[in-house]
């Protein structure tokens, strides 16, 4: 059995129909059996009725037409595209969804990085050439060739045609043979 103090605190919500069924039933039963709390209920009801009457009398004096016109005007106004985009972003990227974005992005990056290791040659077009990082030919001439068809990198050593011990038919001592 609930005490009178607790019941009186619930009367307002009971009158507004805000209580769950069991609690509402408990308040109703108590009010039926307790004269003091019944009095408190009647007081609250009379206050509510007075308030309702006063508000209705005030509301009759208010001009609602301009207010509704304003509301209709706001509805009819087209929202700018940037506000629409912002609304879409807010609705789409809620905090719970954004939390998924972080691991999903990491997973995507990992997948891209691991592809080259597990599927060698998937970046065939741009990564299959040998690349020369440094070269020192100790004064000799060097030519570099990258052949697209076979994806071949060639480092070719040669000497100037005016060099010593040169023979006309010696390809190695002339310009590169490609």
């Amino acid at each position: 059995m609930r005490d009178c103090e607790s019941i009186r605190q619930s009367i307002g919500r009971w009158l507004d129909g805000e209580l769950e069924a069991p609690e509402s039933e408990s308040v109703r039963a108590h009010l039926a059996s307790c004269a003091e709390c019944g009095k408190a209920q009647q007081q609250l009801e009379s206050i509510q009725q007075m308030l309702k009457k006063t508000l209705l009398a005030e509301a009759q004096q208010i001009e609602f037409l301009p207010f509704w016109r304003g509301v209709q005007l706001r509805i009819a106004q087209r929202t700018p595209w940037h506000e629409q985009a912002l609304d879409w972003v807010r609705a789409t990227f809620t905090l719970s969804r954004a939390a998924w974005l972080v691991p999903a992005s990491i997973a995507l990056i990992l997948a891209i990085l691991s592809l080259e290791s597990y599927v060698p040659g998937w970046r065939e077009g741009r990564n299959s050439f040998a690349s020369v990082e440094s070269i020192d030919a100790y004064g000799r001439n060097v030519a570099l060739l990258r052949e697209n068809e076979s994806k071949t990198t060639v480092i070719w050593l040669y000497e100037d045609q005016e060099g010593e011990n040169e023979t006309a038919d010696e390809p190695a001592k002339s310009a590169p043979a490609f």
């Binding site: 998924w100 990082e133 020192d136 100790y138 071949t152 070719w156």
Partner: protein
Amino acid sequence: MRPLMNPRNQLRLFSLVLILAAGWVGAAEKNPQSVQVTIRTILAENKSDDFDPKLKGMEQQLKPLKYRSYHLLKAEDQNVPAKGTGSFEIPGGRSLTVAPQEFQNNRIALKVRLTERDKPVIDTTVKIPNKGNFILGGPPHEGGVLVLSISATAQ
């Protein structure tokens, strides 16, 4: 409600899978223990039109060099430790040393040095795709030129 229907648990499970995936990728990028280096020494000349059948598969790579004949003089394989150096004898009193430097993005960096009678001819560092090769050519030899095909495979 089943435990996996809870979005928080789903996120936890996904994160766990992600951590395992990261480990998997890390393992894939681990440096190899050794690198198998293969040197094919080819004599290119213009005295005939012969193409050595042992060089089958290299036609496209040799085509830009514009010589008429190609003969395989020597082919040598060595398993070179990741931080070690492999030494190869090249005809004409030459020597080629190959030192694997690093393995990254399925590419191997090789430090290559060609010497002739102990004098350096060329020092170069080349990054090649794993199981790929590059060509180093030009030193004169017996009326033609030497062409070296240097390939590497991570082990």
